[in-house]
Structures are given as C-alpha cells and as structure tokens.
C-alpha cells in the first residue's frame, strides 16, 4: 500500500514534471520536498494529500493497533520516505508467482522466474572461483590443515595461503571480532593490491573493511549529513542505495543527469549547473557520488572525464565518493577502468588536495560473492580528527564478518603465475568475464531490435538500461492502473514471461522518458530463450497499445 501511495505520488510528480515551463532539475528537487514528511515539508498542498491517503484509506489499517507504541503513524518518517526498488513491488509479485508455479504449473505461459532484477550472479548459476573457496573452507575449519587427507582434496597453494592468512590473525581465531577496520594483515594485502593496480602507494591504515560496500556508503552519509541542508550530488539514473541512504539520514539528493545520447556521459557543465541550483536553494553540497563503471547505466568513464571530475571536486571542496565496485567488469576493448585515486595522484594531487573515498566489494567482478558481504572503503585526504570519527562509527559495529574480510584480501591478491592454482584460476576468471561480455552484447543487440527501444552498450558493470518509447495509450493505461508507465510495462513483462526487471523510475530518469534495468547475469544457455520471450512480449505489448 505504501508503494501504491508512493507510486501515486510519482505519477503526480511525473505529470508536473512533464509540464514544460520549468527546467527538469528544479522539478526534481521538488520531488524531494514532496516526499518529505509533513513536519518538515514546505509544499503544503501536495504533501498532506500524499500522507493522509496512506493513513486513512487503508483496509485493515492500524485502527485496531493504534494503542500500540509503534505504528506506521509513529515510526521515523525518514524510514517511510526511503525507497529501494531493486527489491520492491515487482520482486514481491515475482516471489508470489514463483511459489504459485510450484503447484499451479499450467496457469502460466512460462515454467520459471528469471531474476534479472539484481546483480546476484551466483543465484543464477555462476560458479565461485575454486581457489577462493578452498582457502575459505580451510580457514572456516582450521583443523583440516592438520589432516594429511587435506592434501588430496585441496590445491597446495590454497593450503599455503590459508596458513599465511591464519598467521595474520591474532591467535588464528577466525571466530573472534577483529580490529574494527579489519584484520591488519588482510588490509596489508589489500593495500598491496591497490598499489599494484594503480602504481601509486596505498596505506593499510586508510582501509576500512565493511560487510559489502553498502555499509561504507551509509557510514559516509552519516558523517556528511546533518540535515536536509546538506546535499549529495548523485547521478541520475543512480543505484538507489544512494537515494535511500540520503533519505534515511535526512539529507537532500542533488541530482545530476547523465546524458543518454552520448552513452550516459557525465558533463561537468551539468554538475556546475546543479551545484549552483542547489546553492541557490540554501543547500550545501558536501560530496559528489560517481559510479564507475555505471549502475544502472553501464558506461565506463574516460580518464580525461575523470580528471575533470577530480578538478571539479577539488575546486568546489567536495568529497568524491567513488563507487568502484564494478572495476573488474569492463567488456569493451576501447575502455579501461582507472581508479579515481590513480587519476588524482597522476594529476599530482595528494592527501591535502582532495578528499576521496573509494568503495570496493566482493559481490561484483568475476567473483560475484554477494552472500559473503565483504568489501572495503579506502579513505584518503581526511584530517586525523575526521578519521577518528570514522573509526569510532566503525567500532560501534564491532567489525565486519571475517570470511568476507578474507575473501576481500583474496580478491585483491589472487594466485600469481607459477602458483598451483594459477591456470585454473585464470581459466575460471576469463570464462566468466568473456561470457558476461557475450551476454551483454547479445542482449543489447536484441533490445535495439525492438520497436521503440534504444539501448546503450554495456561497456561495464552488470546491467543494460534500455529506453522504451512507450505509446500514449500504454501511458494512459498505466495511469488508469495507478502505476508508473515503466512499472506497468515491467509488470506486464513479468506476467507474460517470468522475467523480472526493475522499472527505470526506481533509479530515476529524465522525466517523460521510460527505462528498465535488466542484468546480464542469466547463464549463457538461457539468453536465447530470454531474447525470444522478451521479443514476443514486446511485439504483443506494442500491438495492444500502439498509438
């Protein structure tokens, strides 16, 4: 119901946004104030409407529970306000369908649900890297290292590596809380890995290991945001972690639009314009979030572009939050990943010139170890008193999980030529990455063949984000169904094919344009069937709604 209400709000907003007189960015900021709770709201007309409908029209609403201390009306409004579409309504419908499929097979024109909504590779059959898992198994049950039979079941370098890691853990205790930044020896390995990648020094004391990259992003938002007067520049379309985290911490999202026509390019002039606009509204912009390679947009930034971004942050005094979790996922020969730290250092900028946080995760890349919840942030260019505050917040969480920490160190220091596992490691890694490149290409071409659909290439990351030019009739039908047009399309797609994608509105998009995000993660042998189903569905959708 909440989603329905917010969906309604979105329609309302989208309609106002489509009115020509005001520029887009202005309306987008209004969206923020619209979704703000009544107490802090400055747009009295729309807001009460939004919220009164959520509390009174509800069948089985909280009237029976109103005597309880915690009800929907009395919880933190920041919680109500935040949204996370990657696991939103469409996924709930998909889960219901999946349950029903077990007993009610004949009721559907498909026999399985294909989850293309989330970058969760191993749930779609991607196999973990054997060497990594061998080391983790040995560290999970260290008694194995004393058994002679272990040598028959494990590669020799995995045994060596497990010993090496255990020697770095005080008391070899993998069941103990570690230092709140992560085990020092593992941070040494990560720093060495960053150094090898960038050609510039990295300090293990700058590394904060986290349960996936997301907690690191939350930590930085918590530090930067005191109130709605604090703004964070975020790309639109964006990965909704950013909008959700900013909402939870009560700040303001300051959007900058990526240019779809130039392959989701990031224009400095757009950054400047949005920064000025935010300033004129009394918002102090504290940081710029950049996702490279892009999510959901899949573009890989050029080094030149990155230099301009670094200069912009330096000049404007912004913290650069660099989401670099897809750094291993680059699929085109003409693009290469460069870390922002490398770019900044190669421009001659050091600790005193720019505040930079780089996020990395073990959930992406060729490893795709989402369930482990491992990651780190490398924090550079902060004064020691600020660093102490980051450490303190990390310490309230005690530490991140140890197997995630071990895996993060393995990802940054994989087997080397000559190691027992090297050949199989390279074969597994190359196999996964080249297959992802093939899948990205196949899906992109298929999407571009559809009537009214244009799709930029996935240069990197794990997603395609096609633009669908929806007919007016479809938009009207969506409005009648009180749903956003792209969500309407995605629900139809799910019901017809079992394919789960995320509507573009969950990531935000230029008003009046419609997209969806689809991962490139289903296994290669499933791609032809997906292409067929998608093509068939789109044809019949257009036949139904073509203007």
């Amino acid at each position: 119901m909440r989603r329905f209400v917010i969906g309604q709000a979105k329609n309302l907003i989208d309609q106002t946004r489509r009115r020509p007189p005001q520029p887009h960015h202005h309306n987008n900021l209004r969206l923020l104030s619209l979704l703000r709770p009544p107490a802090s709201d400055t747009t009295p007309v729309s807001s009460p409407r939004l919220f009164s409908s959520s509390s009174s029209d509800m069948p089985g609403s909280d009237s029976s529970t109103s005597s309880l201390p915690v009800t929907l009306d009395s919880i933190n409004p920041k919680v109500l306000k935040c949204e996370y579409a990657v696991r939103g309504e469409i996924v709930s419908i998909a889960q219901r369908l999946q349950d029903d499929l077990k007993t009610n097979k004949d009721a559907y024109p498909f026999d399985e649900i294909i989850y293309c909504n989330i970058g969760n590779p191993q749930s779609l059959g991607q196999q973990p890297i054997t060497f990594f898992r061998e080391v983790l198994a040995l560290c999970s049950h260290t008694a194995l290292l004393d058994e002679s039979a272990t040598h028959g079941l494990f590669s020799s370098d995995s045994i060596d590596r497990a010993w090496k890691i255990l020697d770095q853990i005080p008391g070899k205790a993998t069941g103990a809380y570690s230092h709140s930044q992560g085990i020092k020896g593992l941070r040494d390995a990560i720093a060495a890995g960053i150094e090898a990648r960038d050609g510039f020094p990295a300090d293990p004391n700058d590394i904060f290991m986290t349960d996936g990259a997301s907690p690191g992003v939350h930590m930085m938002m918590q530090l930067l945001i005191s109130s709605e007067k604090d703004g964070i520049l975020c790309p639109i379309p964006q990965y909704p972690l950013y909008s959700a985290s900013i909402a939870l911490h009560g700040g303001s999202l300051v959007p900058y639009y990526l240019d779809e026509a130039s392959g989701w390019g990031l224009e400095i002039s757009e950054l400047k314009k949005q920064l000025e606009d935010a300033k004129s509204k009394g918002i102090t912009v504290r940081a710029l979030a950049v996702i490279n390679p892009g999510n959901p947009t899949g573009q890989v930034l050029s080094e030149e572009n990155q230099r301009d971004i670094v200069d912009f942050c330096k000049k404007e005094g912004l913290v650069l939050l660099a989401d670099e979790v897809y750094q291993e996922n680059v699929y085109v020969p003409d693009k290469k990943f460069h870390s922002f730290k490398k770019v900044a250092r190669s421009m001659g900028y050091g600790e005193k010139d720019i505040s930079l946080v780089s996020f990395q995760s073990i959930s992406k890349g060729y490893y795709g170890e989402c369930g482990k919840r491992g990651g780190y942030m490398e924090v550079t260019g902060f004064t020691s008193d600020v660093r102490e505050q980051i450490y303190k917040v990390a310490s309230v969480n005690l530490c991140s999980n140890i197997s995630g920490q071990i895996l993060a160190s393995l990802v940054m220091s994989p087997p080397k030529p000559g190691d027992d596992s090297y050949d199989s490691y390279i074969a597994e890694k190359e196999g996964i990455l080249s297959s992802l490149a093939t899948r990205a290409k196949t899906l992109e071409e298929a999407l571009n063949k559809l009537e009214g659909v244009t799709c930029n290439r996935a240069e990197g990351a794990m997603y395609l984000f096609p633009c669908i030019n929806l007919p007016q009739k479809a938009i009207a039908a969506a409005e009648a169904a009180k749903t956003a047009p792209d969500a309407f399309y995605c629900k139809r797609l799910l019901n017809a094919t079992g394919i789960v994608v995320v509507p573009g509105s969950g990531f935000r998009q230029v008003p009046g344009t419609w997209h969806f995000r689809c991962t490139i993660l289903p296994q290669e042998d499933k791609i032809p069937a997906i292409v067929n189903r998608l093509t068939e569905f789109h044809k019949s959708f257009m036949n139904e709604f073509r203007d």
Binding site: M58, T65, S67, L68, P69, V70, T71, L72, P77, C82, E83, Y84, V86, R87, I118, N120, Q122, S123, L124, E134, S140, H141, L144, A149, G152, G171, A173, T174, G175, A176, Y177, D211, S214, L223, L241, A244, R286, G317, V319, K352, S355, S363, E369, C370, G371, K372, R373, T383, D385, V386, Q389, K392, V393, S395, V396, N397, L398, C399, N401, S403
Partner: protein, 484 residues
C-alpha cells in the same frame, strides 16, 4: 579540505563507544611495543583461546567449498552428519554462500529459528501462538538488529529510550547516532543489580516532565556489564509496566546460554509475555535479540544474529523489511551458523557426543571462572563485586580514595579511566572503565570479561591484587573512601 571536523554530523561527534575507546587504543599500542596484553575489554571468547565447536565449523567449511561434497574422499575428513547438514543448508540457499539471500535471511533458517523459539515456550494453545518465521529477521550480529529497530522508533531528540545504567554502550552510541534521547534507569548494585519498577516510573515521569516522549525500553538479560539474571516475577512487572506506559520492549537476550547459577535459569521475555495472557500478550510490543557471538558458540567474527518481533503491526514490519533490503542481505555463512545454533546435533547423531562434550566443557569452565573472578575481586582492598550470575563480565566497584581522585584530576582523566590505565600499564590487563557504561555519580567500576583461559585466571587475579594493593597504598591517605 572538503570535510572539516566542524562540519561533521553532530550526532556522530556526540556518540561514544568505550569498549573500543582510549583504553583499547592504549592497549593496542602497548601490544605493538611488545608488551603482553590480556584483552578483557570485549566479550570476544575465541580471541582469548576458546576453541570453536567442531561440528558447525565442519558444516560451514563444506558449504564454503561445496565441490568437496562431490569428492569420493570427503568422508575421510568430515563425518556423515556434517555432510548431510551441509547439503541441507545449501539446499535452503539459492546459489550457495555466494548469493544474496532474502533480505530477512534464508526462509529455511528463519523457520528453524521459529521452531527453536517454539520449543522453548513448551505448549501451543490458541492464546499461545506459533512463533512466525515472517516475524524473524536474521542480521549481521545482534547490533545491526538493535540499530534497525531503534532507527524505526527514533524520530528526533523528543523521543526517549529507557536504558539500564550501567548499560552496554551499543545503546547509548546508537541512540546518539540517531539523534534520540537516552532516558536512564539505574540498576541497584546493593540488590545485586536488581531492576526496580519504581525506579522506572521515576525515570519516565522525569523524562516526560522534560517534554520527552518515552517510546521504548531496553532490558539486557542476562545483564551486560552487570551479569544479573532477571526473575520471572521481575519480567512480569516490566512487561506490565511497558503495557501501561505504552513502551516497546527491546529484549537483549544474547547471553541466554551464559548462566552460572541454578536459582534463576534464563527465561525469555516472549515466554513470560505469552504466559501472562490477555490483555498483555496482545498489547505489549516486544522485539527480542539473539546472536551467534555469545554463549558457548562465541562466534563473534561471523556476525550472525536475529530479532523476533511480537505485536508489531504488519505494515511496520514491512517498513523494517524495506530498510533491511537496502543492506541487501545478512551474510549467508553466519545465517548457517545461526541455523546450526538453533538446531544443534541431537542425541544419536554421530557428532552429538563431541558437540555435547565441547559445549558442556566451555560452560562449566566459564562458571568456574566467574567464581574465581568474583572471589578474587572481593578479596582486594576497596573492591566489592557482585557475583556474575550470567553473561560474560565481572563489574567490580572500585572505591577510589580521595588521593586517587585528585591524581586523576591532575592527569586530566576520569577517575576510573585513570585507574584502568594504571592497571593496564602495570599488568597488561585491558579493561573498560565503568564510566563507559554509565554509573551512579561518584561511584567507580571497571568491566572485565571472565574469558581469559581458566589456567591463567589465578595468575591474572594475583597480578590484579598486587596492582590494586600498591595503587591503594599509594593513594589512600586515610581520609576515607569516595563511595557516597
């Protein structure tokens, strides 16, 4: 510089977390310099030599490397029940340990947790419903769950949370990060850290007179740092109080396996609430927390926990689910540890004897250590200590003589911080000053875990006694004690 200290979120600056504060940092420095440090500051059993239970580690190792399950020689390294259990848990995942699970945790594990809670509540009747897996969320350790729930409850500084003093500083730190108000209620040291409902009433009345709307109450049972176990009668009073005052009760029950006396076994708030029947059983909102970090498991590094919600309206549950989904999912190997904790090997299983032997060995040793420690503290000059009935800590009161207070003042330190630093420098014992947990004004404590190895315990207590004697001799100038 883009981020100046002055510009940081004030709530972050205000927040304090002493368990890893000044003392811990100094201890780490000393350790780097080569001094032997006994870390008794954090309840971190494996760091102090407690061995992990074998069976769960075998199961998780197999889940980490599922290709072992296809190897004909796997039986040479793993018992059959561990192999069967690994297959069972892998079948509950959608892609093994490497795939995100449902944001609330694997449905199959949540079902096992629900069955565990049910087993501990005995009978199922109409007014005594089944525990519902949909109301159980798995988390990366219990702390994450506490933060999620407090985030839901706290809207601003006008919202108050009743917290015991002394308390585990997770609560004060989180409340301050979220910008809420901590409303203290004092545990009575002279009544073995008893919880007096009259104190609660006073605390609530006082907070309300200051315009604070008190919304929730925290109990830690068994107590951290105070080690007391709440009686059933006491829990009933608390639940009635929450009912009358419309407070959500947050029941921190992470030490439920750590009980060192027989008069008051652990009883969960949920069971007491359900036994009380109408109107309480439907009228009190309760969230209970549990973890794999404590008990005889002590698997702190896994970051595994759960919370169970009772009488929380479905639409609020949905909001909590939404916030959980932003963090994607708790780590899957810790979810499997949780599954194993709530459904350990049964009599007749191949691994049962070993599992029972290991877990019993740990608990019995902890019980002996709790006694050695309490007795040791009580034999020291100017030190009095309640018995550790449960949990993992000893929380002795140190009656600091005026000379010590003066010396502390000169050194610019809080008196108990001063004492603990001296203790650390002299003996290598790293403790947490009582001021990190809150205490009555003018009264000083320290917290130490009871986790050092049993064979080292007499030596540790001797070295403490020696330090304390010298400290008291140096500062006790005959003007009496500081205790009010």
């Amino acid at each position: 510089m883009a981020l100046e200290y002055d510009l940081l979120n004030e709530n972050v600056k205000k927040c304090q977390y002493a368990v890893r504060g000044e003392l811990y940092l100094r201890a780490s420095e000393l350790q780097k310099e080569g001094k032997k440090i006994i870390f008794t500051n954090v309840g971190n059993p494996h760091a102090l030599g407690q061995k992990p239970l074998t069976f769960p580690r075998q199961v998780v190792a197999l889940c980490q490397a599922p290709f072992l399950l296809d190897d004909p020689n796997v039986g040479m390294l793993f018992p059959a029940d561990a192999i069967a259990r690994a297959k069972h848990y892998l079948s509950l995942t959608s892609g093994g340990l490497g795939a995100y699970s449902d944001s609330r945790g694997l449905p199959g594990v949540r079902k096992e947790v629900a069955e565990f809670i049910q087993r501990h509540m005995f009978v199922v009747t109409v007014c005594f419903p089944h525990s519902d897996p949909e109301l159980i969320f798995l988390t990366d350790g219990a702390s994450k769950g506490v933060m999620q729930i407090l985030n839901c409850v706290i809207r601003g500084e006008g919202d108050g949370i009743l917290v015991p003093v002394p308390q585990y500083p997770l609560y004060s730190a989180t409340i301050s990060l979220l910008g809420g108000s901590l409303v203290p209620y004092y545990l009575d040291e002279s009544e073995n850290w008893g919880l007096d409902v009259n104190n609660l009433r006073q605390s609530v009345a006082q907070a309300r007179s200051q315009g604070i709307s008190v919304r929730a109450m925290v109990i830690i049972n068994p107590g951290n740092p105070t080690g007391q176990c709440l009686s059933e009668a006491n829990l009933k009073e608390i639940l009635k109080f929450c009912y009358n005052e419309k407070l959500v009760l947050l029941g921190d029950e992470v030490y439920q396996q750590n009980i060192y006396q027989d008069e008051r076994p652990f009883i969960s708030s949920k069971k007491v609430l359900m036994d009380m029947g109408s109107p309480f059983s439907k009228g009190v909102q309760l969230v209970s927390f549990h973890t794999v970090s404590k008990g005889y498991w002590g698997e702190c590094g896994q970051r595994g926990g759960y919370f169970e919600m009772t009488n929380i309206p479905p639409r609020v549950v949905e909001e909590i689910y939404k916030v959980a989904s932003i963090a994607l999912s708790p780590n899957v190997s810790a979810q499997i540890f949780m599954g194993l904790m709530v459904s350990p090997p049964k009599p007749g299983d191949i691994s049962y004897d070993q599992f029972a032997r290991e877990s019993k060995g740990i608990l019995e040793s902890l019980r002996r250590r709790a006694k050695i420690m309490t007795d040791g503290f009580n034999s020291c000059k100017n030190v009095v200590c309640n018995f550790t009935e449960g949990a993992m800590y000893s929380f002795p009161q140190i009656r600091l003589p005026p000379g010590a207070l003066q010396a502390a003042k000169q050194a610019g330190k809080v008196p108990d911080v001063f004492y603990c630093l001296k203790l650390l420098e002299a003996t290598g014992i790293s403790t947490v000053p009582g001021s990190g947990f809150g205490q009555k004004e003018g009264v000083f404590h320290l917290r130490t875990t009871i986790l050092p190895a049993e064979e080292e315990m007499p030596e540790i207590m001797d070295s403490f006694k020696k330090f304390n004697d010298e400290f008291m001799a140096q500062y006790d100038n005959g003007f009496g004690y500081s205790r009010m």
